[in-house]
Amino acid sequence: MLKAGPLLTVTQLESGYNHLQILWDVSLKVLKGEMVALLGRNGAGKTTTLRTIAGLLKPKAGQIDFMDHRIDGLPAHEISRMRISFVPENLHLFPAMSVMENLLLGAYGIRDPGRTKGSLAFVCDTFPALARRRKQLAGSLSGGERRMLALGRGLMSQPELLLVDEPSLGLAPKMATTVFDTLSKLKLAGLTILLVEQNVHTTLQISDRSYVLEQGRIVMEGRSKELMKDDHVCKTYLGSGDD
């Protein structure tokens, strides 16, 4: 809040898998305390953007800056230790470990037991259901609980920036609402969030700003409230019939 510069700056990013490029010239900014959403169809490159920021993919070109550090090309574990947490769509939990072990591993980069304890208290507070099931194996949790656990594990490292990929995917509508409520609360608590979500309606409601990706390029950006009224967005993503 003291800093005027953005927390995360992505500049002219190009990325993809081996021979296939998925992102062309993607630039975006996330300011501290903001919740920013990435919108777009399946295959537009939203997940690729998050994976590249998180270091799971090496960018082919472009630059990523986070809190005055250049982080593009760094391995994922180092980016994680710089306090960027990525909660992927398919969660990547440790199924044969207990909920507690999963959470504690989330704080792997923090070697200070006092701080770990603090994070744990915060996570248990945010997700009481997890606290109740702390001895259960992660693999035996329900879909919604797993999603919570992944979010909880992501929060354990006390991140500055949370990257969340499709948090409501495959969840019952009620559970999805809970997830969105949680994200809003985290945002109010001061966390910066970059969100990818299919449920465009809700996303535009809870986020501050949004970027629209189409075929690996940013085609639009703006305040979420304004995008909601935009013609193209309405037609394509909020759907008012065939365009």
Binding site: H19, I22, Q198, Q215, G216, L238, G239, G241, D243
Partner: protein
């Protein structure tokens, strides 16, 4: 009727991927299969193509029960498919990739040598790169075309297309729609799994909507767009025409 599914169910452990799906398809039709991620669209294609065995139900193709046939037998009998993520024979040339299907997938004793049939399949999908390129050097768009050419080279009667349009530019998309329409004009029945509503609505004679493994609607594009359940589950409330 070329294809008839009756009471198809498939579970993966505790997860119900398909629940009592029945549907009929007439020859020469294009059927669109839509639904959110994880609705079971690809699973259904896998069941039809034979890569997966259903737990219950039967599949009848050209009047014959085929549930027990392996996928290579089904391919020889005229059911071809493309893959959501293209899986080429990466150390073979483009031509060889297509020739595999032309030789092994097409058992109708044709006079034309497989090489020519492979080349004409490549021409048909407007494959513009040298056919002696190794498949591992192709990009996604080219791989999708190669996959389509491979599927066509086995001379199918029923063609299953799994998200073949993902990641295409509008221009490429228009080309692709043209290719699909041409294929249908040759008398091929087609099932299309796709997210792009625009393409589905333009292309298909009939649409089936899957939601968490269940068929929640079936009908013409107009009917689907007006269906309340579809609007709630998939398209969102604002999709109503």
């Amino acid at each position: 009727m070329i294809l008839e599914l009756q009471g198809i169910s498939k579970r993966f452990g505790g997860l119900v991927a398909l629940k009592d799906i029945s549907l009929n398809l007439d020859e020469g039709q294009i059927l669109g299969l839509i639904g959110p991620n994880g609705a079971g669209k690809t699973t259904l294609l896998n069941v039809i193509s034979g890569s997966l065995r259903p737990d219950n139900g039967y599949i009848r193709y050209q009047g014959k029960e085929i549930s027990k046939l392996s996928s290579d037998r089904r391919c020889q009998k005229g059911i071809s498919r493309t893959f959501q993520i293209s899986r080429p024979f990466s150390k073979m040339t483009v031509l060889e990739n297509v020739m595999v299907a032309a030789i092994f997938g097409d058992r109708s004793q044709k006079q034309e040598p497989p090489r020519d049939r492979a080349l004409s399949a490549l021409r048909f999908v407007q494959f513009s790169i040298d056919e002696n390129t190794l498949a591992e050097n192709l990009n996604t768009v080219q791989l999708k075309r190669l996959d389509l050419a491979r599927a066509l080279a086995s001379n199918p009667s029923l063609l299953l297309l799994d998200e073949i349009a993902a990641g295409l530019t509008p221009l490429e998309l228009a080309d692709l729609v043209g290719v699909i329409r041409h294929t249908r004009e040759r008398g091929v029945t087609i099932i299309v799994v796709e997210h792009l509503m625009r393409m589905i609505l333009r292309l298909c004679d009939k649409i089936v909507v899957l939601h968490y493994g269940e068929k929640i609607a079936e009908g013409t594009p107009e009917e689907i767009c007006q269906d309340k359940r579809v609007a709630d589950a998939y398209l969102g409330e604002n999709y109503l025409l």
